[in-house]
Amino acid sequence: MIEGFSGGWAPFLYLVAAVCFILALKGLSSPKTARNGNLLGAFGAVLATVTVLVDGDLDHMAAILIAIAIGTVVGAVGARRVQMTQMPQLVAMFNGVGGGAAALVALLELDRITGLADPGSYPTFNLAATAFTILVGSVSFSGSAVTFAKLQELMTSRPVIFPGLPIAFGGSLIAAIALAVVIGADPRMWAGIALCLVGLALGVLLVLPVGGADVPIVISLLNAFTGLTVAAGGYVLGNTLLLIAGTLVGASGTLLTRLMAKAMGRSVANILFGALKGGSTLGGGEVSDRPVRSAGPADIAIVLAYAHRVIIVPGYGLAVAQAQHSLRELVDVLGERGIEVDYAIHPVAGRMPGHMNVLLAEAQVPYDQLKEMDDINGEFKQADVVLVVGANDVVNPAAKTTPGAPIYGMPILNADQAKQIVFMKRSMRPGFAGIENELLFDPKTTLLFGDAKDTMSKLLSAVKAL
């Protein structure tokens, strides 16, 4: 049973793989070492896979190799083809399939146990770990699927709440515990399958009430869940590498989730269950018809070209419109005129913490022009113009002024302190959090409507012409 403790080279190679994973996570924490860290992690994974194939004394080898090849091609092609803007969805999907795989492995292990001569005498703790793997793997699978649907806008990104939701959630949780107890006392396959189904329901119910802007935190949390699932699976199968790797991801994923939540000024509990308390009833998403001031690219070009200090606040809309290349050109042109320009990057700009850095790196924006929120927030007072491109929630003063708003408490960029604010927007539609932005109606604010890419190139040629 405990293959990890048998002789031979395999346990030693698994240890090497585990060290690779530790160093991979360590490397990924710093920009200089990140890429090598990731490659080292991939090396560890390949090493472990080859080890099990060579050492495992396995049947059905041809079918196994074909299945690995199919998974490899699907994963690699998906990873190569995906647009950088769709990164969060892809991570959610990869996480979901990993959780699903762990749940299936545990179900098969349960099937093996029920086939033993005396399944009732199987160690209870192993059975509990099997039940845990089935349950949490299923939660991770269906939760990630809902996350994917929200990010891909296959469904509304608003919190989905219905009256019986807390009861349904609580009921499913009790059912899950009851089924786990059944499996622990007397392992039966029907209980395992029922537990899997309850887990799928729980995952959906867990993610439905989470608002669009908070979804990335949930991906990170589900990522940690999958890690713990894999760890429990390692215990069940007697494989030390699975236990160590899964625990590493579970622990670091939990910490990462808390760091991200902190960057948004929220607690994880508040993100998951905040909507259930009925707190965020604001943000009906209606478009108000209050007057706003708008202008054309030529007017904005003059404003920008005669400023001394400009701060750009890029958002997800910029990347969706693929306007980041034109934006970089605009910043270069303004720089040539002697204007000091910086990008203010909110920690959760884009759809996932750190996402905006990836998107701007894609457009080859120099790293040193990207300023983190804490470094630049004091400088907005001196800025002549703040150009907000495709961002909304991260400059919404409601985060400071409106208790009960879905984003209340999130630290924001102090764009409202600048002398003049220019919003480039497609429409008056609210941001991902679904709430109206008071700053749009500020007397200092001018709106420049249109598709970001189109408007940006008009703005660019207008500035060049001056």
Binding site: K26, S29, D59
Partner: protein, 100 residues
């Protein structure tokens, strides 16, 4: 608790501390690649799926096991490749390679 379980518990507790320690100083710039890289690591459930599939006689188990292998391989390979693609851009930003 059996001596064997004490060993497992030791692995678990030490791994928790290592997992927290190694990423405690991550900059927010790298949150996305780190999440994606950690995501790839749990794709290692692949070796569990391979073991289960390769040590059974039952055809239904093999079929489900092969599905698990495909899913786990998607997780592992896709995760590492997409993380590398993101990190490639971070380093590429400085070099200003010619584009278009």
């Amino acid at each position: 608790m059996s001596p064997e379980n004490i060993v497992w518990l030791t692995f678990f507790v030490l791994s928790v501390f290592v997992g927290i320690e190694v990423i405690s100083k991550v900059s927010s710039t790298l949150h996305t690649p780190l999440m994606s890289g950690a995501n790839a690591i749990h794709g290692i459930i692949l070796i569990g799926a391979i073991t289960v599939t390769g040590t059974t006689e039952s055809t239904p188990v093999v079929i489900v096991g092969l599905i698990a292998i495909v899913l786990a391989a998607v997780n592992m390979v896709g995760g590492f490749v997409v993380t590398d693609r993101m990190l490639e851009m971070f380093s590429g930003g400085r070099k200003k390679e010619p584009r278009e």
